[in-house]
């Protein structure tokens, strides 16, 4: 077992331990500064580990890294399997979480009880990284629960605000039902396939290969896959807030702590998109039992339709919002719609080079949208938290007090609209390319309609915060750590555009080695290799 593999295995236990030791530590230490430093250090370590994992993945020619918990052989024990896709997204998500923790060190002065805050936020990171790295559908359920429960807690964090309680109650109530359904999906999968390991499921659903540990099949895998996929998609479209499962987002955003909102839109919802991509392309790809009866094509078509609907609904609702974060919630919904529009171009009649363009656009847009959103949220957070207001009308002209926030908002608006030298443009360019070359011109028109409507929504933030004159005098808070965060992110979104030729080549390699047939083969290959180690080269 090499270093990279141990690191993959260590990252979630480390985060979970760190999270649960916060309440214990609180018996001895009450200093806010200590917890700020502690949580920041833990997330920095997680970021370093995720980067190491990804670097060793690239150095090893994108050969998936497998970690076996307790040394058990794969289908029997839980494994983490990191290929190019989840290695990359794990790095991205831990970066976003690190920024959220950095932001929290500034934001903690508005929070009375940092102990539960950091317990829950570290729990959220555990869930996110666990969901992304896991190679086991049942462990995915466990990590989903970790993620969800931390998320409910964080949504309800400001218990004195009725809006927060209402949002968290609705979110938790429906979320609990939903995660149970995912549990049922895993039960169905296990009853038919006799395995919960992702690579093993891939082997049985697509490659028709059996192994000595989980045997061959135990039931009708075709109908079991249908039911399991139906439930799974429903659950993860809820997590990633696709219309019509998007209702929790604006409510939760409007009342949660600001760094948490950054973590939600940058990392949590992306996790849902990742899981759907993993199920639709790795576990049940174009050659699987799911594709035989046309179910895969039909649900991809449904996801495409819902993606368009989500983009339209999100951007239309943006126009009429008054709460800054509610508006950003709808903007997230609209971007998630765009992500699903490209994610679902994997129908059997779409040529594979078009699919590759689409998936490259997906990954690149995740990065562009996520970083743009985090930039936007931290810039608005600086203004709104200092003023203690979330209503855009009451924030009028306030960013004139904070020049860095004005710059941050401007850059973020340009990035999210997709103006030309910014990264957001290049991912949208690839999206157009994918839609047009798949022959569906109408999707390109839909994309420009969504972009046009949502640019009106972003202009609203611009208009509210930057242009109006400041009427009252406010006490200016110090920018502190937000100064480097905002300036670094503002430079980053510009660099994402200027260096996009190199970045796109890189992301193309990531897609080629994960979601495309070659990558799927490698995903199974690593698993088979580990198995051969147990059965003596058989």
């Amino acid at each position: 077992m090499n270093h990279a593999s141990s690191i993959v295995g260590a990252i979630t236990p480390l985060l979970a331990t760190a999270s649960f030791s916060v309440p214990l530590l609180s018996l001895f230490i009450r200093s806010k500064k200590f917890y700020n430093a502690y949580a920041l250090a833990v997330s920095a370590i997680a970021l370093a580990m995720a980067s190491w994992t990804f670097v060793s993945l690239v150095e090893g020619g994108y050969k998936p890294i497998i970690y076996r918990f307790g040394g058990w052989p794969p289908p029997v024990g839980i494994v983490y399997e990191v290929d190019a896709l989840n290695g990359f997204l794990g790095l991205y998500a831990s970066l976003v979480m690190f920024i959220a923790f950095l932001f929290s060190t500034w934001y903690s002065k508005f929070i009375d009880d940092v102990i539960w805050y950091y317990t829950l936020l570290l729990g959220l990171e555990t869930g996110v990284i666990g969901c992304i790295y896991t190679g086991d559908v049942f462990n995915l359920f466990v990590m989903l629960e970790v993620l969800s429960i931390s998320a409910y807690g964080l949504a309800a964090f400001f218990t004195r605000r009725p809006a927060a309680l209402e949002a968290a109650f609705k979110y938790a109530f429906i979320g609990a039902v939903i995660t149970t359904l995912y549990f049922i999906a895993t039960v169905i999968l296990y009853s038919a396939y006799g395995t919960l390991n992702m690579a093993d499921l891939l082997g049985k659903s697509t490659l028709a290969s059996s192994n000595g540990f989980s045997g061959w099949l135990f039931g009708d895998i075709a109908s079991a896959s249908l039911a399991a996929i139906a439930f799974t998609l429903w659950v993860f479209t809820f997590k990633s807030a696709l219309f019509p499962n998007h209702f929790w987002v604006p409510d939760v955003y409007s009342a949660a702590p600001v760094p948490v909102i950054a973590a939600f839109s940058g990392a949590v919802e992306v996790t849902g998109v990742y899981v759907v991509a993993r199920f639709m392309y790795t576990l049940f790809g174009a050659g699987s039992v799911l594709a035989l009866n046309g179910y895969r094509d039909s649900i991809l078509l449904m996801l495409l339709v819902l993606g368009v609907a989500s983009g339209l609904v999100g951007s239309l609702m943006m126009i009429m919002q008054k709460n800054a974060y509610r508006l950003l919630g709808y903007s997230t919904i609209s971007h998630i719609g765009l992500l699903y529009m490209v994610l679902s171009l994997g129908m059997s009649y779409v040529p594979s080079d078009v699919l590759k363009t689409a998936l490259t656009a997906l990954i690149y847009h995740i990065v562009n949208f996520g970083l743009g959103k985090v930039l936007m949220i931290s810039s608005i957070g600086l203004v709104s938290a200092s003023a203690g207001e979330r209503d855009l009308d009451k924030l009028s002209g306030l960013s004139r007090l904070y020049p860095i926030a004005s710059i941050g908002i401007t850059m973020a608006v340009f990035q999210l609209i997709g103006l030309i030298p910014f990264g957001g443009f290049y991912s949208k360019l690839l999206m157009y390319q994918a839609f047009i070359s798949s022959g569906q011109l109408i999707l390109a028109v839909a994309l420009i309609v969504v972009s046009a409507i949502s640019s009106l929504g972003y202009l609203k933030i611009f208009y509210a915060l930057i242009f109006p004159p400041l009427l009252r005098s406010y006490v200016k808070e110090s920018e502190g750590v937000l100064m480097p965060i905002i300036s670094a992110l503002a430079i980053a979104v510009l660099l994402l555009g200027i260096f996009s030729p190199a970045l796109l080549k890189f992301i193309e390699a990531v897609v080629e080695n994960s979601l495309m047939p070659k990558g799927v083969e490698m995903y199974y290959g690593s698993f088979a290799e580990v198995l051969r180690g147990y059965t003596g080269g058989g």
């Binding site: 070359s437 022959g439 011109l441 420009i448 309609v449 242009f467 109006p468």
Partner: protein, 341 residues
């Protein structure tokens, strides 16, 4: 190469040429509308008032001082205005007209983002730098029109480009080391091949529909009658232009006129194949180009003279009916024909 680039950017078809063209466009519009309404139109400067728009511009830019309003951010407004103008000028590099031409797969999308997104945002942001209720009302009206107009313009322009891509995929035009292909959705290559599509009556139907939709949307983009809703004189004072004065007004007017004339240029190339059926550097080619420009401009002028201003909701509805829906129908028709023709 560098010299050619500088010439393309600053002289032809860059800043100087497109500004001159826009002054001519403004003069022609004013003169022809005045003629239709039995008025004189511009007469003071130059033969038959030809230089009047230019002198207006110079006067505003160099002589008049802008009124400094209490809450405005003038430098930001200027920056946005100039950004809009340079976005248009840079997009001209995609045309076959320019000495340095850039062609790439899907460069049409670059054009759309420059002209359809960057310019309206620059225009709106420029006006919003001035704090005034009339400006905000005008900007709000402009934005609700942009909501319809930009998708319509995009869909309308997509129609000829997709048809041209389909045609040229069977006859490659660009060769690179014994490997021939035709870059898809490129403005340059589309304008070379689109002329031949008009002879096919099925394609011609789609093209005519799209052309009509695009002309309506250009009318609205340029805020000409009946869509001069955002600057609605008498109703909103001057709408988005209320607080502009001096150099700022000059920049705004130039941006507005340059946008109109470059849109017409792109329509000529993308729909009508530029100097088709002649070549660029021939006398007939230049004449055909000028004739096409004047024809489209006259159409715009006729529409402007025929109608009075619509109310906002009326205007939006008319735009949906006569621009967005036909444009989307034309795209749908084009993609259907591409499958079966």
């Amino acid at each position: 190469m560098i010299l050619e680039l500088i010439v393309s950017a600053l002289v032809f078809p860059g800043v100087l040429f497109i500004s001159a063209l826009s002054f001519f466009t403004e003069w022609y519009l004013r003169k022809s509308v005045a003629h239709m309404q039995s008025r004189m139109g511009p007469t003071y400067v130059g033969p038959i008032g030809l230089l009047q728009p230019f002198m207006d511009f110079v006067k505003l830019l160099v002589v008049k001082e802008e009124v400094k309003q209490k809450h405005s951010i003038i430098w930001l407004a200027e920056l946005f205005g100039v950004l809009g103008i340079s976005a248009i000028v840079s997009s001209l590099l995609l045309l076959p007209l320019s000495p340095i031409r850039i062609a790439a797969d899907y460069d049409f999308l670059i054009y759309v983002y420059l002209l359809g997104v960057m310019v309206p945002i620059a225009m709106v942001a420029m006006s919003l730098c001035m704090s005034n209720p009339f400006v905000s009302a005008g900007a709000s009206r402009l934005l609700s029109m942009i909501l319809i107009v930009e998708p319509a313009f995009f869909a309308g322009m997509l129609t000829p480009i997709s048809i041209a891509t389909h045609i040229s995929s069977s006859t490659p035009v660009f060769c690179e080391e014994a490997y021939c292909r035709s870059p898809p959705y490129s403005i340059f290559y589309s304008s070379i091949t689109i002329g031949s599509a008009w002879s096919n009556f099925v394609y011609a139907a789609a093209l005519i529909t799209a052309l009509a939709a695009v002309i309506v949307s250009v009318q609205a983009k340029a805020m000409l009658n009946p869509f001069n809703i955002p600057e609605a004189e008498q109703e909103l004072i001057a709408g988005i232009k209320t607080e502009f004065s001096g150099p700022l007004l000059a920049i705004f007017n130039l941006l507005h006129n340059v946008e109109l004339s470059s849109s017409i240029l792109f329509i000529i190339y993308v729909f009508l194949g530029g100097p088709y059926p002649f070549r660029h550097l021939s006398i007939q080619g230049v004449l055909v180009l000028v004739a096409k420009y004047i024809t489209i401009l006259t159409l715009v002028a006729v529409v402007r003279a025929l109608f009075g201003r619509f109310r906002v909701e009326q205007g939006v509805w008319i735009l949906i009916k006569y621009s967005l829906i036909p444009a989307i129908a034309a795209v749908a028709m084009a993609s259907l024909f591409n499958l079966y023709v």
